[in-house]
């Protein structure tokens, strides 16, 4: 099925609750208007439309729109077609129902987005940090994320050796300048050369 | 050995029965021999560690250690020195006393075996009339050492290794013991030298080719010995990919090296025992030694020495051949799982070994009635074995040809 046909079926079933098919500039997608509908729509996709696999789940932070977007890439191994669903959440307290009960692969994918973007997936059986340490502060993939300076006394930044060389050069130059100031102007030219 | 000492004392003009220093001489010589035996074991194990790495290297299309000394031969000395000087770490959470003492248990269980192992026609430390029984008994000490090391380490990996090892060694002692009973049955003695004397120098006189059951018994013994020595495919107690290093995970330095000394030294023990029990031991062709007539003893002067050396060489050659096979197996086969290991023991080896003992007992009755059958069976089995070896060799050469390589044994050592 093409994306239009899939969207037509979705629209027929859910009507207003599913957004229009966005212009297929690269990958066409449709918006799920309310996050609460996700499980119902997911079950419909899995059951009626044959989307047996959730191949990707990504989150995108849009500070300008004050939104966090969760993108579901669906694929059907039985019918060999794909579709993209999106949900837009409030950036301050992003929360949406977990699709783990529909597709098992959502388990780890949702944990990853929870960890890196701070999105709460309600009803997820095992919502823990996955990449970052348990006591890490912040969610790294947020656009306004600031790394903490140190973690358990481990510095998160390291001085580049090149910076050391900058200092070294500066010091040598100053010393040379100091020497050059003492010597007469005629010899100054030689020093510079 | 006692007879030898007695003859020494007599040579000095004393009667060992009445001489006051006899017991002291005995103690002194015992100490001397223990020293020699332990050193023999240690040096053999060291050399095997080098040999194993060279063999592994060659088999894996690598070179192996070749820097220290000719062909890298001094590598094992360098390793020994390194291990001796390494820090001997004892984990704080470990049971300090048991942790320290465990390697010695293994060493004792391993070194004691050498007392009953023959090396040549005359060279055996104690010619016991219960030699085989003694060997089976003292090897069990090793398992005590392993369990102690695993338990006292207070590490879960070590504990896993130790428990696996206990299950494995104790299980496999049954088929190993039963398989060793067949030469005992055939020769009518438990003495290792006696069993060798009951065989002859030629392959068809060896017990391995005596009848189908003893042929099977040889393999049962060999498999069980691999399991008892923690060699692949039975290296479950120290399975690297599963248990990090098994029961010796927490050990370091010299104590760690004891474990490996035992492992490599055990290769000599299992191979020497196989040679003794099934492959005619040190018997020299054309100079058969039987209970009835000792051809070597009948020689005189320098010929005695030569014959003695020849018997040492033959015994060593056969043993080293099996040591090589043990290494070769290790670098070919995957490891079996712990339940499969148990299955194999109790479902395959134990029944087959019992059946083999029964068969041999029956076969002895048959050949007693029809002696010609004995010879026919021996010749057929020997010929079969030879044909198998030749086919195997041809297959090996074919392998080299198949991938477009050349036969090249000598280069890049």
């Amino acid at each position: 099925m093409t994306a239009e046909e899939i969207h037509a079926q979705l629209a027929a079933k859910f009507g207003e609750r599913i957004g229009p098919l966005m212009p297929p500039n690269k990958d066409s997608w449709a918006l799920v208007n309310k996050a609460e509908d996700l499980i119902e729509i997911g079950q419909f996709c899995k059951g009626e439309l044959g989307f047996d696999c959730l191949i990707n789940l990504s989150g995108v932070d849009w500070p300008k729109k004050n939104q966090i977007e969760i993108v579901y890439h669906l694929y059907s191994y039985s019918k060999r077609h794909q579709f993209v669903l999106k949900v837009q959440l409030d950036r301050t307290a992003p929360s949406l129902p977990s699709l783990e009960s529909v597709w098992k692969s959502a388990d780890w994918l949702e944990r990853e987005q929870y960890d890196l973007l701070g999105v709460e997936f309600r009803g997820h059986p095992d919502l823990r940090r996955i990449m970052m340490p348990d006591d890490w502060v912040g969610h790294p993939l947020r656009k306004d994320y600031k790394e903490q300076a140190s973690w358990h006394n481990i510095e998160t930044t390291r001085e580049s050796p090149l910076d050391g060389f900058v200092r070294l050069d500066d010091l040598t130059k100053r010393k040379a300048a100091a020497t050059a100031a003492i010597v007469p102007a005629a010899e100054k030219k030689e020093v510079l050369q | 050995m006692q007879a030898f000492l007695d003859s020494l004392i007599r040579g000095w003009g004393h009667d060992p029965q009445t001489w006051v220093w006899t017991q002291l001489i005995y103690v002194a010589f015992m100490g001397l021999f223990s020293f020699a035996v332990i050193n023999f074991a240690a040096v053999t194990a060291g050399i095997f560690s080098w040999a194993e790495r060279r063999v592994a290297g060659r088999m894996q299309s690598r070179v192996g250690p070749n820097r220290a000394g000719p062909g890298g031969f001094y590598q094992w000395i360098a390793d020994a020195v390194k291990l001796l000087t390494k820090e001997d770490l004892v984990p704080t959470e470990a049971d300090q006393f048991l942790f320290r003492i465990a390697p010695y248990f293994m060493m004792v269980g391993f070194a004691c075996v050498f007392v009953a192992l023959p090396f040549s026609h005359r060279l055996v430390i104690a010619e016991m009339n219960v030699g085989v029984f003694y060997i089976i008994a003292v090897t069990a000490l090793i398992v005590v050492g392993i369990i102690m090391s695993g338990w006292s380490s207070n590490s879960k990996w070590s504990l896993f290794g130790a428990i696996r090892s206990a299950a494995q060694i104790i299980s496999y002692e049954i088929p190993a013991g039963m398989a060793l009973m067949i030469p005992v049955l055939l020769s009518g003695t438990l003495s290792t030298q006696g069993i060798i004397r009951a065989q002859g120098p030629w392959p068809w006189e060896w017990y391995i080719f005596h009848d189908p059951a003893s042929f099977a018994a040889f393999f049962i013994y060999f498999i069980s010995a691999l399991a008892e020595g923690n060699r692949t495919p039975f290296d479950l107690p120290e399975a690297e990919s599963e248990l990090v290093s098994g029961y010796n995970t927490e050990y370091s330095g010299m104590r760690f090296s004891y474990f490996f000394l035992v492992e490599w030294g055990n290769m000599w023990v299992m191979s020497a025992l196989a040679t003794t029990m099934f492959l005619g031991g040190w018997q020299v062709p054309f100079l058969p030694v039987t209970d009835a007539a000792d051809k070597i003893a009948m020689l005189s002067g320098g010929w005695t020495v030569l014959a003695e050396l020849a018997s040492i060489a033959i015994f060593t050659f056969k043993t080293l051949f099996f040591v090589f096979i043990v290494m070769w197996l290790r670098w070919t086969l995957p490891r079996i799982r712990v339940d499969q290991m148990m299955n194999m023991c109790w479902k395959y080896l134990v029944p087959v070994s019992f059946a083999a003992v029964l068969f041999v007992a029956g076969w002895m009755l048959v050949i007693h009635a029809v002696p010609a059958l004995d010879w026919i069976m021996r010749i057929v089995l020997t010929a079969g074995g030879a044909i198998t070896l030749v086919m195997f060799w041809l297959r090996t050469l074919q392998n080299i040809k198949d991938t477009g390589d050349k036969f090249d044994f000598t280069s890049n050592w």
């Binding site: 690269k26 990958d27 047996d52 959730l54 191949i55 990707n56 990504s58 995108v60 890439h73 191994y77 060999r80 783990e100 009960s101 597709w103 098992k104 692969s105 388990d107 780890w108 994918l109 709460e120 059986p125 095992d126 823990r128 940090r129 996955i130 990449m131 970052m132 340490p133 348990d134 790294p140 993939l141 | 592994a56 894996q60 299309s61 690598r62 879960k156 896993f160 692949t232 495919p233 290296d235 479950l236 399975a239 990919s241 599963e242 248990l243 990090v244 670098w331 070919t332 086969l333 995957p334 490891r335 079996i336 799982r337 712990v338 339940d339 499969q340 392998n399 198949d402 991938t403 477009g404």
Partner: protein, 394 residues
């Protein structure tokens, strides 16, 4: 399965930590075994919290993240070309595919047509890389089972491929060979002959490899019937690539969502058939990889025969710019399976780049599969899924 999982312990909360999971295991009275992060067979730095009762495992919970290097965040800071070397690090055993995924994603964003010769160069490099990656997979797998010798044999063949790739692009591991719009270098002189020589040699070695390990009885006994994954379960957990095909699903991105020049090439898709056990067991996954190496050899022969003359680089602006908000997702068949790049353009650097890798989703299935296996089987299961730690964590 998840029902049983919900039944153990209290309801999860937002701030549940690993320590609480560990405690929960300890309360049951079973042994808690920390397999990893430093363990010989975890293939990188992964931790498994193993709940065991003697040799039999009740559960193994993977804990990842030890190799997390924020590669997705770095994509938001780098130029498009500058991110190419980073993609090498996503999967260092099969770096060429990560390169290709990134290049294809940006080409899709910009609607760039890659010259045909460049496509052939890419496929040749990728298929060589696929063989070398599968060699590591089967080699380490046999080593995890305890057979050490197949591993050096596999690595020896891999060295030949490394030499070939080194000649092609100058690096042995992190190739950085592909560029957006083409490839960095054309094939060197008489490269085709060298590849063909290798392929001829390698096919013989593959036969020998099968004789040494694939059909070895101990090996088969260890792997056949072990941790079978049904096709439904494999799809449910989004297993991809050889793991999915090992379960008998005949799906290959190269054939089913065609890209590059794969539609023009003849090759089979080996699937697990339960030859020695149940379909989808560990042995099937091993065998699929061995069979795929043979198919890659076929592809290489065809590519060498068909490669056209011409340009290897499309006309690209020196500074690549993508309008903000335009997004594309690209799926490629990596050595570890379907690798998806989801990229949103944002001027001179990507606004968001999400890399969905095969290893990441494969880790999710270890927990449900591990129940009732033995500790030694867990090692075989991890090896058969062929996970690579940096690809999980990125």
């Amino acid at each position: 399965m998840s029902e049983a999982r919900r039944g153990t312990g209290p309801e999860p909360t937002m701030d549940m930590t690993n320590k609480e999971v560990m405690k929960r295991i300890e309360y049951t009275g079973d042994m808690l075994l920390n397999m990893g992060p430093q363990h010989p067979s975890t293939h990188g730095v992964i931790n498994f919290l193993v709940q065991t009762d003697g040799e039999v495992m009740k559960r193994a919970i993977p804990e990842v993240g030890y190799l997390h290097r924020s590669l997705e965040k770095i994509a938001e800071k780098c130029t498009y070309n500058g991110y190419m070397p980073y993609t090498d690090r996503i999967d260092y055993i099969a770096a060429m595919f990560a390169n290709q995924g990134w290049a294809m994603a940006i080409e899709r964003l910009l609607d760039v047509k890659v010259p045909r010769r460049a496509e052939y160069c890419r496929v040749i490099a990728c298929e060589l890389n696929r063989i070398s990656s599968h060699l590591v997979a089967v080699g380490t797998m046999s080593m995890d089972i305890g057979a050490v010798t197949p591993f050096p044999y596999a690595l020896r063949e891999r060295e030949f491929i490394n030499d070939l790739l080194e000649e092609l692009c100058g690096a042995r591991l992190t190739y950085n060979y592909l560029r957006i719009g083409g490839v960095a270098f054309d094939l060197p002189e008489s490269y085709g002959d060298k590849v063909l020589t290798f392929v001829d040699h390698f096919e013989k070695i593959l036969v020998e490899f099968n004789r040494l390990i694939t059909y070895n009885e101990i090996f088969v006994q260890r792997l056949a019937n072990l941790a079978p994954i049904s096709p439904e379960l494999a799809i449910e957990y989004c297993l991809v690539g050889p793991n999915l095909r090992g379960s008998g699903v005949k799906f290959d991105v190269r054939r089913d969502i065609p890209y590059s020049i794969y539609p023009e090439l003849q090759f089979d898709i080996p699937v697990g058939r339960g030859e020695l056990g149940v379909t989808g067991d560990c042995w099937d996954r091993f065998w699929v990889r061995v069979a795929e190496m043979r198919e890659s050899c076929r592809i290489l022969r065809q590519c060498i025969a068909q490669i056209p003359e011409g340009e290897t680089m499309a006309k690209m602006p020196r500074k690549i710019k993508v309008p903000e908000g335009v997004e594309a997702s690209v799926r490629i068949e990596s050595a570890r399976g379907d690798m998806q790049y989801y990229v949103i353009g944002g001027g001179e650097n990507a606004y968001r780049c999400k890399v969905r890798t095969g290893s990441f989703t494969a880790m999710g299935i270890i927990d449900p599969l591990s129940r009732g296996l033995m500790v030694a089987d867990l090692v075989a299961l991890i090896a058969s899924l062929d996970v690579v730690a940096p690809e999980i964590d990125r």
